[in-house]
Symmetry: C2
Subunit: 345 residues, 2 copies
Amino acid sequence: MIRIAVDGMGGDNGPAVVVEGAVQAANDFEHLEILLVGPTDILKAELNRHKVLGGKITIVEAPEVVGMGESPVAALKKKKNSSIKISIDLLHKKEVDAAISAGNTGAMVAASTLTLGMLPGVKRPGIAITIPTMHGMCCTLDVGANLNPSAFELFQYAIMADVFARNIIRKKRPSIGLLNIGEEESKGTEVLKEAYKLIRDSSLNFIGNIEGRDFFTGKADCIICDGFVGNVCLKMIESILETMISMISREIRKNPISSIGAWFLQPALANLRRDTNYEEAGGAPLLGVNGNVIIAHGISSARAIRNGIRVASELVTTQANNQIVEAIAPYLHQIAAPRNSQAAA
Amino acid sequence: MIRIAVDGMGGDNGPAVVVEGAVQAANDFEHLEILLVGPTDILKAELNRHKVLGGKITIVEAPEVVGMGESPVAALKKKKNSSIKISIDLLHKKEVDAAISAGNTGAMVAASTLTLGMLPGVKRPGIAITIPTMHGMCCTLDVGANLNPSAFELFQYAIMADVFARNIIRKKRPSIGLLNIGEEESKGTEVLKEAYKLIRDSSLNFIGNIEGRDFFTGKADCIICDGFVGNVCLKMIESILETMISMISREIRKNPISSIGAWFLQPALANLRRDTNYEEAGGAPLLGVNGNVIIAHGISSARAIRNGIRVASELVTTQANNQIVEAIAPYLHQIAAPRNSQAAA
């Protein structure tokens, strides 16, 4: 039995959608026990609208909620009994094996980092998302937890992305690309040049620097970048399909022949919408913290919550965190060197 | 008469394409005199294949060429008579009013910065590109000249982008957005928080932070960012249309009904390809240097070169650089303050 804490109050769509997603997961995966965390009365009312046929769902009381726009650290200080904090506390006390929230991302990162601490040897956590490409899914790390990573932190992201890609998106020997402004080793900032060397000299399947144009081609199974550029790219990608469909629709309206075509094209566009939908990935693991934590998209649908719970259970069964600790250990003696050389640069 | 130096040897497609573009510009814009810079024999042979009906084209000898992959500063030192260096020298000696090259971007930036110097008060140059959105063109600055701008440099980019958008993409009072990972003023790095305040407190039409999803919506007429994230986004955008068409085509092949639609859709996709094509923008001004410099895309077609020459002549006629100097002057007393506060952060 795998036990997963689900923040019942997280996300833009409220508890109705989260509870529906939890019920879907419980019904689809019998080996799960889901602990819905939040105000008991609200969650009970939602739960009563569904039939739980498979796994088990119980409610854990958490009277407070961190709002989506609240300052993470201030909110966590003020609201000791928020659904986010209590979910992470359950994980810390090992009463669950994983925790997931579609709520305030910053609060989830802060609560996880402060309460769970880091995996042995890991310097900073990173949010790993999967992006659909022309050749399957691609893992991008980090997309928002660490805006100014050091070279060694980027190197650790490469190690963690490799573990994630092998276990969750099932790539045998994932190719690792470092996001940069050119392919040559000499490109980019001093931090990137140093990170390039660290990844190149490791046992990872490093394919060198990749550029913005390589996001969709599937050139790399894992894209390593700082959390700022990763976050901007992620949001751009999320908006692309809708923008392209709007632009195509506008062109179509200008041209009567094209408008005939558009009608026939509907099924293809519907498939494309599905394939490029964040719902299937379900949630982004917060890698590096000492516990299995999934950050779901704020606009998560019930289907996305269900899939996020699935990814959480896969992190548990594959023991991804143990693999990260093992993979990082051989390189820990390098920490001092790159940090000093950066400071001197 | 406006005189423009065109690097005859720049770009992936060689002198044939550059010369063809120069001829198109000369024929379309009678007020131009184009100085083709490069090895005389090669350029003369290419020029003989065309009829110059409108403006005037002359050749200026430059026996050396900087390769696309060469290290910029080393190449400029070694090759004193490269087509890039001589083009910029012509501009420095005021023998031309503007210079354009589709060659090595780094060499063009270095030659311009070292030979021409900066406009009075401007700290660092920035490359400004125009991106098609749902509501017209949008200016993004910087896309690769400055990977780690200070807050004050970002503020100067906002001022320069405003001048560019008013004069070249003809927006009356351009809206300015600062690229960040969230809309709130408290988001992002210390540099971005400081830049936010500087732009907000200026007379610019600042609409606050914008996110990756806002690139295509036309939410801002100008997007201000560091050269690293700008470069990654630019390359992603360039690859998007082809990727989307490939993905749509693949979906279509799976479904016979959609394939009927695809045939009818061709004209709409062709229009979309044209509208999102870098060719129409033609080239990216290197703003901030003391002279009108245009950096054209390495893969420029003849049409793109022709349009780059058009943008160069518009920089000259609108006296954009004079406007930049005037717009920046009132804020020069602020330079000391933000730099100190950054160092303390």
